[in-house]
């Protein structure tokens, strides 16, 4: 069964083989016929045109460039004819030897070739067949073949024709270009600079590299619909537009702009944009390539730089010192306002700007006190370009200008020279007056009669003046460096001094007394006025003491004290003595008085009338003597000491007096206005009023006597008055009556001491006593007491 099937299949194969052979035979005949036709074509171009009619237009082109290699082959690839170019290219000559095209194709192209032939046969043409062939000379060549089928009149394919081009070289270039393009792409893609390619009227970019997308935030996809013009910042659109149209109008080949774009995020990016036109074969700009470099940072840095430059120049302009900047050619670059005003120019004057320094020198030299000197030192500086430090220049108008100059050297190259001018007149004068003041005070310190000592915080002597040396007995050399207290003060005084030092540390100044030992060993009393000493930073650096030797004063003071003490003692003794004397005087008076009264009593009947009168007179004298003694004692005991000054109701004092003293019936004593309460000693006050009231009563000669006590409140004093309608006192006695033991009139009991006591008391209260009187009418005594 299997065998029979195989037999059937073998028979069928056999049949097919036979059929193919028959077909091949037919094909051979047919191609021979075709060949004949082509032979005819060769002979007549017109005939060819006719027969092939207008088969394909490209064929026409091919035939036009017949200088290319041209072959005609049968549909199996056997070359039938070829032109000289083809012979040259392939090395084979179909007229001399027969060869098949497929045979010279390199093995790897065989399959491709077979397929190509099949296509050719089916479609009637095959374009751009490319394969490597081996020429007769064993050379490998890449050839391109464009071929078409040649049909007979019946429309049957009879042959194929082809134009061959050696594209070996072309291909190498192509590959190279391809490679270069790839490299370029890599470069473009990895370039940190944004690169785009655009066509004039496209809505988007043809190409945008990574950097560009990154820079603007748009994807490459998005860029297909966005042009860079669309992203341009409004303010920069106009100039961009102008430049682009210039480019497309072929006025310029490229341009470069620093302009702003708006990113997808809305941020503004400064970019250096360079645009180059790409021309087509007609020399017309069709495309443009744009490179975009983000210079935002640079721009900002530049702005900052500009800002700081502006600030700097504003600063220079307004600087309080005159500035002059020269360039390396001695041209004035900058002068500021102050500079102008220093040299009498208008502040904003520009006449110096740009001129030579020497012009400036010439122009202002007349302002200087020594113009020639000014020019000389300038030319010296200009030669050497040395630094100038604190050069003082005197002007005619009395001003003093100080200037400093420094050469400006950059990387070792002289670039110019910077001058700064200051008006130091005030400072100079101040300095001078300070110097004068200092001299004045130094001279005062040196010559004053007060010892001056400056010590540091550890009491070590820094400075002493001559007076201090004089009063201490030490020379300046012996003093400086020593501890002041240890050298000079006594041990007791050191304790005082230490406590003062503490106060000094707290910044307290004060005065105090110490005992000092001079070099000769003498103890002296000093009054020290100490003050903390601060440096310019306000830090305590020690103290300054003024020393006054007060030993003499001290001694005087001591003497005075002793004197006072002894005076007090003596006063006391005197007082005591007065009392003893008064006692001793009074005692016999009492005895006499007693004896007289006993005599009168015991011998009342025996003594006569006259004797009785005498005895009575004796009693009166004894009484007067007793009063005299009492008054003297009173007078002598009126002193400052022992006064108890309290609030005393004067009204009560006077009322008590009126109650206690003897007032005859015909006399009235009245208080006119209520008397005040004053600060005084009540005993003294009583003495005062009692004496005056008694006097008033005693000297009344009228039938009806009237004594009026009154007072007036003056500003600082109370003025009291005691008015009587007595005999009155003649003017010439107004002063005399206040003197001790002076008495007036015939009042027998008067001792002449009463008014002296009154005056003494009034004077104790810093008051005065005076009187107004009319003889026969009456007297008014006034006295004042200080409040």
């Amino acid at each position: 069964m299997e065998n029979s099937k195989i037999e059937i299949l073998e028979r069928a194969l056999e049949r097919q083989k036979a059929a193919r052979k028959a077909a091949e035979k037919i094909l051979e005949e047919k191609s021979r016929e075709l060949y004949m036709v082509s032979e005819e074509l060769k002979v007549s171009n017109e005939k060819l045109e006719e027969s092939l009619s207008q088969k394909t237009s490209e064929l026409e082109g091919v035939f036009l460039n017949i200088i290319d290699a041209y072959i005609v082959m049968d549909i199996m690839g056997n070359v039938l004819s070829m032109n000289d170019a083809a012979v040259e290219m392939l090395g084979y000559d179909a007229s001399k030897e027969s060869f098949n095209l497929t045979a010279i194709v390199k093995e790897e192209y065989l399959e491709y070739t077979e397929k190509a032939f099949k296509d050719l046969y089916e479609k009637g043409f095959y374009k751009n067949y490319q394969a490597i062939i081996k020429t007769k000379n064993n050379e490998e060549k890449l050839v391109q073949v464009n071929s078409s089928i040649i049909y007979n009149k019946e429309g049957k394919p009879i042959a194929a024709q082809g134009i061959l081009r050696d594209i070996t070289q072309e291909n190498i270039y192509k590959e190279l270009i391809e490679q270069q393009k790839k490299q370029l792409d890599i470069i473009v893609d990895h370039s940190p600079i944004g690169i785009s390619l655009s066509r004039k009227d496209d809505i988007g970019l043809l190409m945008a590299n990574n950097s560009l997308t990154k820079m603007f935030g748009f994807s490459q996809e998005e860029f297909k619909k966005i042009k860079l013009q669309d992203l341009t910042f409004d303010d920069d659109k106009e100039i961009s537009e102008i430049k682009r149209s210039e480019l497309y109008n072929d006025e310029i080949e490229s341009y470069s702009l620093n302009k702003r774009y708006i990113k997808k995020s809305g941020e503004i990016v400064w970019a250096k944009t360079s645009v180059t036109g790409v021309k087509d074969t007609n020399n017309k700009v069709k495309f443009h390539v744009t490179t975009i470099e983000d210079i935002t940072k640079e721009k900002r840095a530049l702005e900052k730089l500009k800002d700081s430059e502006n600030r700097l120049s504003t600063l220079i302009v307004h600087l309080q010192s005159g500035i002059l900047l020269e360039d390396n050619h001695k041209n004035i670059q900058v002068v500021n306002k102050k500079f102008n005003s220093l040299f009498g120019q208008c502040e904003n004057d520009n006449s110096f700007q740009g001129s030579k320094v020497s012009y400036f020198h010439e122009k202002v030299k007349h302002l200087f006190k020594y113009p020639e000197q000014f020019l000389d030192i300038n030319s010296l500086v200009m030669q050497k370009n040395d630094e100038v430090y604190k050069q003082e220049l005197e002007l005619l108008d009395g001003r003093v200008i100080e200037r400093n100059g420094i050469p400006i050297v950059q990387d070792g190259v002289y670039k110019g020279y910077l001058w700064s001018y200051y008006d130091i007149t005030i400072g100079k004068r101040y300095e001078e007056s300070l110097e004068a003041q200092k001299e004045k005070y130094s001279s005062i310190i040196a010559n004053m009669n007060l010892g001056l000592l400056e010590v540091d915080n550890n009491d070590v002597i820094l400075l002493a003046n001559q007076s201090f040396c004089d009063i201490s007995g030490y020379s300046l050399n012996e003093l400086v460096g020593k501890k002041a207290a240890d050298l000079i003060l006594t041990d007791d005084s050191k304790v005082v001094f230490d406590s003062k030092m503490n106060r000094r540390e707290r910044g307290i100044s004060d005065s105090y007394e110490v005992k000092a030992t001079s070099k000769s060993g003498e103890t002296r009393n000093w009054l020290i006025s100490g003050a903390p000493n601060y440096n310019v930073n306000g830090k305590l650096i020690g103290s300054i003491g003024i020393h006054l030797d007060i030993t003499e004063q001290k001694n005087l003071e001591k003497q005075k004290e002793e004197l006072l003490n002894s005076l007090e003692k003596q006063n006391e003794q005197l007082n005591e003595y007065a009392h003893i004397v008064s006692h001793d005087l009074k005692s016999p008076l009492r005895s006499i008085s007693a004896l007289l009264s006993w005599t009168k009593e015991d011998f009342a009947e025996k003594i006569g009338e006259d004797s009785l009168i005498n005895l009575n007179m004796m009693e009166d004298k004894v009484e007067k003597m007793d009063k005299l003694i009492g008054d003297i004692l009173n007078y002598s005991s009126i002193e400052d000491q022992g006064m108890n000054n309290n609030d005393v109701n004067v009204n009560e004092v006077v009322e008590r007096i009126i109650d206690t003293i003897f007032i005859p019936n015909h006399i009235k004593v009245v208080i006119k206005n209520k008397l005040p309460i004053i600060k005084a000693d009540s005993t003294r006050l009583q003495q005062l009023f009692q004496n005056l009231i008694s006097n008033a009563i005693n000297y009344i000669d009228k039938e009806k006597g009237l004594v009026e006590v009154d007072f007036e409140d003056a500003k600082d004093f109370y003025i009291f008055s005691i008015k009587d309608n007595g005999v009155g006192i003649p003017k010439e006695y107004h002063e005399k009556i206040f003197k001790i033991f002076n008495t007036l009139g015939d009042y027998e009991k008067s001792t002449g001491i009463g008014l002296s006591i009154v005056k003494k008391v009034v004077e104790l209260y810093k008051g005065e006593i005076w009187l107004e009187s009319k003889v026969g009418v009456g007297t008014t005594f006034f006295f004042s007491i200080k409040k």
Binding site: S582, H583, R590, A594, S597, W598, E623
Partner: protein, 137 residues
């Protein structure tokens, strides 16, 4: 109900002694007067301590032991200190007055000039003291 007083008068002035005696007799008082011419004599009388006086009338200005010195000694004695002592003097020296009251006196009277006034004064003093309850020796 008046008491009979024993009065120690310390007084160097003979007339003063007479003045007191005359006053007592003039007033017809039954009081007994012991006389001492000065402080020493008075102390020797007192230190016997057989019959102590009811009151002492003391003058301040005396030779030898003066009144204040006598008073100090008296006030330092545990027994004698209780005897009321009245100063009878011509001196109104404030210092003396203060001193006497400080040491401790029962009174301080100034001898008036006139004998009549003196009698009046002594009468009042003695009347006063004879009304008082006294420590009996």
């Amino acid at each position: 109900m008046k008491k009979n007083l024993t009065i120690l008068l310390i007084e160097d002035d003979m007339i003063e002694v007479m003045k007191l005696n005359r006053t007592i007799s003039k007033l017809e008082y039954p009081h007994k007067i012991i006389e001492a011419k000065n402080g020493e004599e008075a102390l020797s009388i007192l230190f016997k301590k057989d019959r102590l006086p009811d009151i002492i009338l003391l003058d301040l200005n005396m030779p030898k032991l003066n009144g204040i010195e006598f008073l100090s000694i008296l006030k330092n004695d545990s027994e004698l200190r209780y005897i009321p002592t009245i100063i009878l003097t011509t001196s109104n020296n404030r210092k003396d007055v203060l001193e006497c009251y400080k040491i401790g006196v029962a009174g301080y009277v100034i001898k008036p000039l006139k004998f009549g006034d003196y009698v009046e004064l002594i009468k009042r003093v003695l009347d006063y003291w004879s009304c008082n309850e006294l420590i009996k020796g």
